[in-house]
Structure formats: structure tokens, C-alpha cells
């Protein structure tokens, strides 16, 4: 290793030393720079070894990747990935008709593509909004079918990952305008509007999501006139929308609170009037400040969608539970839940990285945005 690198800051040219040498130097500086740190490093290294090595053995070395049932896996002693290999498609798509599974697959592809495009390409806000709206409409149409030779599939059979995606994006999408109105309403000078907004936000935030879901799916039909039915999925979606709305509203209110009074006064002095002041001056600033908490809320919204299982709609977690009812895979719950955990971790990790990037790029293009 005798590559020559030039240090940009000093212009000093030094031969690059071997990687082992540099690693050792780094470890000396960061891990063993005092007696206490050395002890801590050793303790943590021991802990990692105790956990990581058995985990690796379980997940890879002793794992079974193909087997007829869990008994074979048990004999090998490791993870039973054969279960995922055998039932993976069911976990992803549930009871959606097997010969039509390309449709939910396409839905997942559409959502992943839209996520990538939102973070990579420098598209304008309006274009992105239009793209997501179109994406959701196309996804719902694909799931339904009933046109272009695609057979109609009822919402009862929409299971698995596409359901989590649709509930999150649809729920947050509908919740967003509600949240903006509620956040503004909470700061309104008109008592009726203010109290209504506070009642909505605090009532929903004071109640667990499960309760809201049960209310929507069990109680709402009781109040509907006879003969009128709304599919359980849509009732659940309304529940999610109301629930997310209250939390997003608080995130937005946080942004509204840090806008200095001078901004309102300057807009007033120009004669903009309430709505133009709010839409052109206050909200753009408040929303860009609340982006981190909006994304946080969306991430937890995504994770919350698995709760839909409790009202008998099977998302990806529900599919895992169902799959483990199959007699030959009864003991494969570790593998099933790991699969779901990895899916969610990947998605949430990506989203939080995206929000960090967004935050950085916003503070770069608008140098004044955070200062005053």
C-alpha cells in the first residue's frame, strides 16, 4: 500500500499506510485512550461476541433454507428460512388471488419507485404531490381490477404489504389537510373553531389507536342506515386518517409556534388577509420547520398500520400469524416475525435518512429560514 494521497488542507503529501496500521491507530485513539475506556471496550466486545456469534450461527450457519416442514429445521438447530421460502409470497400478499399476484407486486414497485424518486430526483413539490396522488389512485385501481381483463378483487382479499403501504400513504395523505386545518384552528381567535380543533386533537390523542379502529369498524355500521354498508377497509382507513390527523396537526402546530410575530405583522401590514397570509407566508415556513416531526409521525403511522390485524383485516403481520397456522410450520414464528421486522426496519430506516437529507437541503437553499 504505497498510494500517494494529497491532503487537501495542507497540501502535504504522505504515503498512505496499511489499513491494519490505520485501524490500530484509530482504535488506540478512540477505544483504548484511557484505562476506563479500555475496560468498557473489552466488556462491550465480549457482549457483542456473546450475542453476535450465536445469532450468526442461528441465522446462517445452522439455518435451513429448504425443507418440507419445521421438524427438519429443528433437527438442524438453526433458523428455518425454509418457511419464508415456502410461504414468502403469502406473507407479502396474503389471500390475494394467486394468479393475480403481479398486481400487488406492481403496487409495491410503484410505491418504492415513488419513494426513490421523491428523495433522489430534484422534482418540484407540486409535481411530487401530483405523482403521489396519481400513484395512490393507480395502486387502488390495480388492487380492485375489474377493467382491462383484470378480474375484480374485493377489499377483503387485499392483504399483506400493499395494505400497509396504502393505509399509510392514503391515511397520511387524507390526514394532512385535516391536520393543517386543525393546527390552524387550534390557534384561531374564533372560540368555536378553536375549541372544535382542540376537542378533535385531544380526544384522538387521548385514545389508543386500537380504540379508534374498533369504533370505526364495529360502531360506525350501527349508525349507518340499513342497507348502507361501507367496506371494513375503508372504515379502518377513516380511523387511521382521523388518528394520524391529530398527530400531524400537533407536528404542524410545533412549526407554527416558532414563526415570529413579525411575519404575521408584515403580512398584515401588506394587506394580505388571513388566507393569503397563512398560505403564502406562514404555512410554507411552518411546514418546512416541521418536516422532521412530520416524517417521524409518518414513520410511526407506517408501523401503526399493523394494528389493523385486530379488526380482522390482514396486513403483512396478519399474514404471518395466518401462515403459522399451517400445521407444518407451527414453530417458525421467530423467522416470520424477523421477516416482518426486517421489512419495517428497512423502510423506516430509509424514511428517516430521507428526512435528514431533506432537512439539510432545506436549510441550505433557505439560509434565513432557520435563523429568524
Amino acid at each position: 500500500m504505497t498510494d500517494i494521497t494529497q491532503d487537501a488542507s495542507t497540501g502535504f503529501i504522505e504515503p498512505r499506510r496499511g489499513i491494519v496500521e490505520r485501524a490500530w491507530e484509530w482504535a488506540r485513539a478512540n477505544l483504548f485512550n484511557s484505562v476506563l475506556n479500555s475496560i468498557l471496550t473489552l466488556i462491550i466486545a465480549a457482549l457483542i461476541a456473546r450475542i453476535a456469534i450465536p445469532l450468526f450461527n442461528w441465522a446462517v450457519v445452522d439455518a435451513t433454507f429448504s425443507a418440507p416442514n419445521d421438524a427438519t429445521c429443528k433437527a438442524a438447530g438453526g433458523a428455518c428460512w425454509a418457511f419464508i421460502a415456502d410461504w414468502g409470497k403469502f406473507l407479502l400478499f396474503g389471500r390475494y388471488p394467486e394468479d393475480q399476484r403481479w398486481r400487488p407486486t406492481l403496487v409495491i414497485v410503484i410505491f418504492v419507485a415513488m419513494m426513490l424518486m421523491s428523495s433522489r430526483a430534484r422534482l418540484g413539490g407540486k409535481l411530487l404531490l401530483a405523482m403521489w396522488a396519481a400513484g395512490v389512485v393507480i395502486a387502488v385501481a390495480l388492487m380492485f381490477g375489474g377493467f382491462l381483463g383484470m378480474p375484480y378483487v374485493e377489499t377483503e382479499l387485499w392483504n399483506g404489504v400493499p395494505l400497509n403501504l396504502l393505509l399509510t400513504v392514503g391515511g397520511c395523505g387524507f390526514a394532512f389537510p385535516i391536520a393543517i386545518l386543525a393546527a390552524l384552528g387550534r390557534r384561531s381567535r374564533m372560540p368555536a373553531i378553536r375549541w372544535l380543533s382542540i376537542a378533535y386533537i385531544e380526544l384522538i390523542r387521548g385514545v389508543p389507536l386500537i380504540t379508534v379502529l374498533f369504533m370505526a369498524t364495529v360502531m360506525v355500521p350501527l349508525f349507518l342506515p340499513t342497507g348502507v354498508t361501507i367496506a371494513k377497509l375503508w372504515r379502518a382507513e377513516v380511523a387511521f386518517t382521523l388518528f394520524f390527523g391529530a398527530y400531524l396537526a400537533e407536528a404542524i402546530r410545533g412549526g407554527l409556534q416558532v414563526i415570529p410575530r413579525g411575519q404575521y405583522e408584515a403580512a398584515d401590514a401588506l394587506g394580505l388577509g388571513y388566507w393569503r397570509k397563512t398560505l403564502l407566508i406562514i404555512l410554507p415556513q411552518a411546514l418546512s420547520i416541521s418536516i422532521p416531526s412530520l416524517v417521524n409521525t409518518s414513520i410511526s403511522a407506517f408501523k401503526d398500520t399493523v394494528l389493523i390485524t385486530v379488526v380482522g383485516i390482514f396486513d403483512v403481520l396478519g399474514d404471518v400469524n395466518n401462515a403459522m397456522n399451517a400445521p407444518e410450520w407451527r414453530s417458525a414464528y421467530w423467522e416470520g416475525y424477523s421477516f416482518v421486522a426486517l421489512l419495517f426496519f428497512a423502510a423506516c430506516f430509509y424514511m428517516s435518512r430521507y428526512s435528514q437529507r431533506l432537512e439539510r437541503s432545506l436549510s441550505r437553499t433557505r439560509p434565513g429560514a432557520r435563523r429568524r
Binding site: 415570529p260 405583522e265 408584515a266 398584515d268 401588506l270 394580505l272 429560514a369
Partner: protein, 257 residues
């Protein structure tokens, strides 16, 4: 002599702004006590007084950033009441420049200027941009048009703020301590713009402690203390022989250094 002058002033035009027995309270605190002023078209008024004397509150009542509780305020013949239509009509005619500039940080300088003409005056975008560029020339920073306010110095921001108000083609300009938040070396560039405006005949009310500026441009000096107007006089008289002791004290404090 003074009588003659005031008679001439009356003849020169109707009052652009009129405050009659205006009173305002913050809770129990009586901030404005029986304020009476008339400002004619083209008149340049400088309001001074110790801090907490109610001078900012008074001019903020003129475009209803603050509400008065008693008395009447008329701007260009329109009475300022709770009626939103009246308030918006008056705000269109009255420009305001703040101590803290209050530019919109998420918009470029040009967008800061064109926003109100486009959305309130319904001016076509191109026309608004031409007007904005003219005004940026006038405040001598056309080259900053596409920057964001956060990239400008305080003096530049305040000049943009003045241009932003002028974009609405106001009849009256209110200045609320426009140079108080500025570093000393930037005060002059802002005052120069204000002097230019005054010379063009803009009706102005300035709350400021810049007495040099007051001497140069003011037609009328108003001294306020503890919510009251203590003295109203042309600047020569005001500075040479102030009538009230409180004015004398204030002037001696402010001019001593």
C-alpha cells in the same frame, strides 16, 4: 407667524391621517391617552420620546396591528373600525417598515417585493417584477434581487423592506424605529433612502431617534411621554426652544452624546 404657517398647512390639503381622542389600554395599563393628531398629505412627521412612551403603539394603531379602544382613527377618509373590509382597504394604502425588517425568509428578495402586488393588487407577474426592479434600483440593491433575505446585511434587508412596502404604492409610509436594530455603519444607507422618499413628497410618520434625520426632513416633530403627546412643533422650534420640561430633558439626554 406660527398661526400663519398652520393656516397654510390647513389649506395645503385635507388630513391624510387623523386620530381623535384615541385611547388604548393593555389590561390596566393606559398606553395611549387622548391622542389627537392630523397629518396632511405630503407631511413628514417624526415621533420621538423615551421608550415605553407609546409611540410605536400609536403608529401601529394606524394600520391596526394594534386595536384602539376609544376614539376614532381616519385614514384617507376611511374610519378604522372592526370591519375587516375597512382594515384591509387601509392596510393597502399604508406601508409599514419595522424595526426587525420582517422580510419573508423563505422567499427571494424579488418574491418578497412582488408577493403583495400580485396577490392583493392583482398585478400581472411581469408588471410586478418590473415595478420591483425599479424599486430595488431606487434603494440601490438591484443586484440582490435573487438572493434570500438571510444572505443580506441588516441595512440591505431594511432597504428591501422599504422597497417591499413601496411596491404596494402606498399613500402613507409608517416607520417604526427603522434603524434601531442596525449596526451603526448601516444606518446611513437606510436613512438616505428615507430622505429620498421624503423629498419625493411621500406622507410619512417615522418613529425614530435619529435627530439629524428629523432636522433634515421633518415638517412636524411630535414628542410623546407616558402615553401622551407632550409637544407638537416644527423642528426648528422643537430643537431650539422646547416648551415642556420633559421635552427639554429628553433632548438633553439624546443630544448630549
Amino acid at each position: 407667524m406660527a398661526v400663519q404657517e398652520s393656516a397654510q398647512r390647513q389649506a395645503a390639503g385635507r388630513p391624510m391621517i387623523e386620530l381623535r381622542n384615541v385611547n388604548k389600554w393593555y389590561g390596566d395599563f393606559h398606553v395611549l391617552k387622548d391622542i389627537n393628531i392630523g397629518v396632511r398629505k405630503g407631511e413628514r412627521v417624526v415621533v420621538c420620546g423615551p421608550s415605553g412612551s407609546g409611540k410605536s403603539t400609536m403608529i401601529r394603531c394606524i394600520n391596526r396591528l394594534e386595536e384602539h379602544q376609544k376614539g376614532n382613527i381616519f385614514v384617507d377618509g376611511i374610519e378604522l373600525t372592526g370591519d375587516v373590509k375597512h382594515v384591509e382597504a387601509i392596510r393597502r394604502e399604508v406601508g409599514m417598515v419595522f424595526q426587525q425588517f420582517n422580510l419573508f425568509p423563505h422567499l427571494t428578495v424579488l418574491q418578497n417585493l412582488t408577493l403583495a402586488p400580485i396577490w392583493v393588487r392583482k398585478m400581472p407577474k411581469k408588471e410586478a417584477e418590473e415595478l420591483a426592479m425599479q424599486l430595488l434600483e431606487r434603494v440601490k440593491i438591484p443586484e440582490q434581487a435573487n438572493k434570500y433575505p438571510g444572505q443580506l446585511s441588516g441595512g440591505q434587508q431594511q432597504r428591501v423592506a422599504i422597497a417591499r412596502s413601496l411596491c404596494m404604492k402606498p399613500e402613507v409610509m409608517l416607520f417604526d424605529e427603522p434603524t434601531s436594530a442596525l449596526d451603526p455603519e448601516m444606518i446611513k444607507e437606510v436613512l438616505d433612502v428615507m430622505v429620498g422618499l421624503a423629498q419625493e413628497g411621500m406622507t410619512m410618520i417615522c418613529v425614530t431617534h435619529e435627530m439629524g434625520f428629523a432636522r433634515t426632513v421633518a415638517d412636524t416633530m411630535i414628542f410623546m411621554d407616558r402615553g401622551q403627546i407632550v409637544e407638537v412643533a416644527p423642528p426648528k422650534e422643537f430643537f431650539a426652544n422646547p416648551k415642556s420640561d420633559r421635552t427639554k430633558l429628553f433632548l438633553s439626554q439624546i443630544l448630549s452624546h
